[in-house]
């Protein structure tokens, strides 16, 4: 099969377009096997779950940092100040200056706060971080984040953990059309078909956690998502991406206007 182009984030190339999270797993061993089966190269870990001062921390040890990009996230942060503080603590403890920015002041639906996220992104980018912000599927916010220098935007398909799929499809479509940085669909994707759908639309990557971690067979589900993401991306490359809301130059109904005046 043809070689697919890599995913480029902040000048770094990744063969896999599936990012995975580390929460909700029944054990560290299952998590490690699921991550391996997913083929992911970027693994996100909640800073609140790890003890950065402990070199033997269970979760930190479980993610082989030679093999994966260890992407700390600020989940649990209520405002910009907390998120920035957490990111800096992680960097001071030796993490690479990459951060998945999550500002979720509502602990129930865990929806991202757009105002605080933008504020934190601005501070962290100036501070030298590669910032991957988790956002609602808001096209204007995505552009604003791009403007301040984030290296991706990560719009949600549905609220975290709901497995409901691409409920925000129309807005994500606009984000993809307008984006100049990779668009990673994050949260709410519950089945490999959802991941394939996002990739067919032209998303650059997807991030999956709950759907893998809480499956009866997390390793099998990780493999299924790997295939779903690849299938969707191949389909997009093969021409599914032609659909557009914009008028095409070769409009069959109004083409005569141009030829008449030629």
């Amino acid at each position: 099969m043809t070689q697919l182009p890599p995913l480029i984030i902040a000048d770094r190339a990744f063969d896999s377009r599936l990012l995975v999270g580390t929460g909700k797993f029944a054990s560290t061993q299952i998590m490690q096997r699921a991550i391996a089966a997913s083929g992911a190269e970027i693994v996100t870990v909640a800073l609140r779950r790890v003890d950065l001062s402990d070199p033997q921390d269970n979760l930190m040890e479980a993610v082989d940092r030679d093999r994966y990009l260890f992407l700390p996230n600020t989940s649990g942060a209520r405002d910009a100040e907390e998120a920035v503080r957490l990111a800096r603590i992680a960097r001071a403890a030796g993490c690479e200056p990459w951060v998945k920015l999550e500002v979720t002041p509502d602990p129930h639906y865990l929806l991202p706060d757009p105002v605080e996220t933008l504020k934190a992104a601005e501070i962290l980018v100036k501070d030298g971080f590669k910032v991957l912000p988790y956002i609602n599927a808001d096209p204007v916010l995505a552009k604003r984040l791009e403007d301040v220098g984030t290296v991706t935007v990560m719009p949600l398909g549905a609220p975290i953990g709901t497995n409901r799929g691409l409920k925000t499809r129309d807005s994500i479509q606009i984000i993809i059309q307008q984006a100049q940085v990779p668009v990673v669909v994050d949260a709410g994707l519950g089945a490999p078909s959802h991941a394939a759908e996002a990739m067919e639309m032209g998303a650059d990557a997807v991030l999956i956690n709950t759907a893998i971690a809480t499956a009866d067979d997390p390793v099998g589900m990780a493999k299924a998502f790997r295939l779903g993401v690849e299938a969707g991306y191949r389909a997009y490359r093969a021409g599914l991406g032609q659909h557009s809301w914009r008028a095409e130059a070769s409009s069959p109904l109004t083409g005569f206007l141009r030829s008449n005046h030629a």
Partner: protein, 374 residues
């Protein structure tokens, strides 16, 4: 606005009658609903739901795994003082009980927490009786600052305070507040709290409001099962939790539903709660509040704890001692009540893993709170 303003619109007798009227069809409806209303909660708590426990358990299990994953957050209680000015008839710390009492020094509290830290605990709950004279706010602040370097999260279950005092605790590293109403039945509340500051029902009821206003990240409420009809108290604690989650939307709400345990004073519960009732209440609360934490302590026997674990529990204590200094700092001080699950944290961890769950010791970080000045 506080929960008092809301609760006075509901009459205990009215809720009780509504629960009794619920039919099997109401329960089926409540099970099917994608979003549940208060009437659905009443149906799930009703005698009519007795025949639906397995269905309720299946739904509760699925909802919990999806929302929280296959994890159980571990915590340990640390009793700081058994001095108390209240006379709660069911409590070992009742001021009329002739027991050996103690208030730990800061160094003793630290010794207790170092012991727990070695066992793996990073989340602790500090408890006291109600005696601001023995444990003033400033003293709690000194303790919190001392413990902070050792811990990821510090919660308190102490006498109700004013909002400004809670703010000071938060500024000094305390992130969670636990306060149980015990029972929402006004008359019954007065009977079991005959004297002392706890007699003030409304002040206690509004304590989570003050905690929410002060900005605690976690609010934990609960009822003490055995004091009143658990179905009605279950409805009220559900109402209370829902109110708190809506009003203090930045705080995570959790619910505890401890059963009365034998304690000094020999109080006997007038409304005994069976294991099947526990299952029904736990599942009803989960179906009512998909996002709420549900807490299970060592008050319950080992076998029941294992069986309740997959039904919706999110937090568990292990190896608990209910006497100040009970872990490492002191000997011969009496506890608040007898615990039932006597297994060590290591045994509990093995049990949790055997059920296909991951025990999580750290699920918070002191780094979230403001930098604490030494």
């Amino acid at each position: 606005m506080s929960f008092w303003k809301k609760i006075i619109r509901y009459r205990w007798d009215g809720i009780e009658a509504a629960i009794r009227r619920k039919t099997a069809e109401d329960v089926r409806q409540a099970l099917r609903a994608s979003t549940r209303h208060f009437d659905d909660l009443l149906a799930l708590l009703s005698p009519a739901a007795t025949g639906f426990l397995e269905e309720m358990a299946q739904v509760a299990h699925g909802m919990t795994v999806q929302r929280f994953g296959r994890i159980i957050q571990m915590f340990a209680p640390v009793y700081i003082s058994s001095e108390c000015t209240n006379s709660c008839v069911y409590c070992g710390f009742n001021r009329h009980n002739q027991i050996s009492r103690a208030t730990l020094t800061v160094a003793e509290v630290e010794k207790e927490v170092i012991f727990l830290h070695r066992q793996g605990f990073r989340h602790v709950l500090l408890l006291t009786g109600e005696s601001p004279q023995h444990v003033p706010v400033d003293y709690l602040i000194r303790i919190a600052r001392k413990l902070q370097p050792l811990l990821a999260s510090i919660s308190v279950e102490i006498y109700p305070m004013a909002t400004d005092d809670y703010r000071r605790l938060i500024e000094n590293g305390v992130d969670g507040l636990t306060v149980y109403q015990e029972t929402y039945h006004l008359k019954r509340y007065a009977e079991v709290h005959p004297a002392g500051p706890k007699r003030n029902y409304r002040w206690r009821l509004e304590t989570p409001d003050r905690g929410g206003q002060a900005g605690f990240r976690r609010l934990n409420i609960g009822v003490l099962l055995g004091l009143s009809d658990w179905r009605v108290d279950g409805a009220f604690v559900g109402l209370h939790a829902d109110y708190l989650a809506r009003r203090y939307w930045q705080s995570h709400v959790s619910v505890s539903f401890p059963r009365l345990r034998p304690a000094a004073g020999g109080f006997q519960p007038q409304f005994p709660v069976t294991d099947a009732h526990m299952v029904q209440l736990l599942c009803a609360l989960r179906l009512w509040m998909p996002d709420a934490g549900l807490v299970l302590s060592t008050r319950e026997p080992a076998s029941l704890r294992e069986n309740l674990l997959p039904l919706g529990i999110t937090q568990m204590s292990a190896g608990s001692k209910t006497a100040p200094g009970g872990y490492a700092a002191k000997e011969n001080v009496e506890g608040q009540f007898e615990i039932s699950d006597l297994r060590s944290p290591q045994e509990i961890v093995r049990m949790i893993a055997a059920h296909g769950y991951e025990p999580v010791w750290k699920d918070w970080d002191a780094g979230f709170l403001n930098d604490i000045q030494p």
